[in-house]
Subunit: 166 residues, 2 copies
Amino acid sequence: MQTSTIRLTGPLDPRGGWAAANCPIARTLDLVGTRSALLLLREAFYGTTRFADFAERVGISEPVAAARLRELADHGLVERVPYQEPGQRTRMEYRLTDKGADLFPALVALMQWGERWLGPAGVELRHHECGHPVRATLTCTAGHQPAIADVDLVLRSSRATAPGTP
Amino acid sequence: MQTSTIRLTGPLDPRGGWAAANCPIARTLDLVGTRSALLLLREAFYGTTRFADFAERVGISEPVAAARLRELADHGLVERVPYQEPGQRTRMEYRLTDKGADLFPALVALMQWGERWLGPAGVELRHHECGHPVRATLTCTAGHQPAIADVDLVLRSSRATAPGTP
DNA sequence: CATCTAGCTAAAGTGAATACAAGCCAGAGG
DNA sequence: CCTCTGGCTTGTATTCACTTTAGCTAGATG
């Protein structure tokens, strides 16, 4: 065993017969697994709300932006909100829902990986109040920051919830 | 301004003219932006090392597994290591490098998002020593866990590094 | 009423990612 | 030397993300 794999416990080890079909990573990728979807979410985090801005800033064509934003809206990651500027007709803007905003750690993790391993792009996240860099890190609910080798993957048997989890 | 966007500072606000071309998220997705690549990395974290196991457990065809693993190896996320079981010929196995292992927080973030928003798949990560659930969270180097609205996106001007950053 | 614009939609085509089927190769066992 | 098995490679076909181009629509403006 090396240090970059997690430990499998219970019925997962040996894990020959585990169904990867309901793997939560795979199911998440079914929704946001395309480049355009993740980059649209990035733009939404940057505060972009309008259709044309999404298409232009992500660098995708309008048909793709329309299709992807519709998918994200259908799945509840963004919501279409009517708004009206004075002297303008009513328009739609796209705003992140809680469900969409909850993907922020994933985007931050991808961002910091790119910064670290593909050369600095010159962008950085900082905590507004203290100014320190913000990272996506593994933290257990007791406050530790475990290494990969200290992480267990366990199968929950239906109702058994972990300490501190609703 | 709402609570699910980060604050843009400096030349990014207003951000009309920022080049998304060198966005670290986009560059990361160029390497691991396909479903098969991320699921192969998931399998590597689960401890899978052998070609046929990768293809079967991820649920992709062997040609795709071969192509994707070669890409991951070319970019240094996995390495091909010869090994020999007693009485067997020399074979190759694929092992995560530090570069590949550093994507773990991203996968954990995607995993926990799927668990939370797409219904529980029944898998959970726990800290081996204390047993508490492990999460991918945003943490600044001072130890705070900022909300999205408390995160600034800043442009670093070449050599200016943040406090505490190498 | 005619025009203009933001916000899309429709149609056609390209290239990449994937599946499926088949075959190749290197060596250990017989 | 023949076979078997793990680790691929080489087809062919399909699906899907995406691009390009073009057009449509609701309402503000002239």
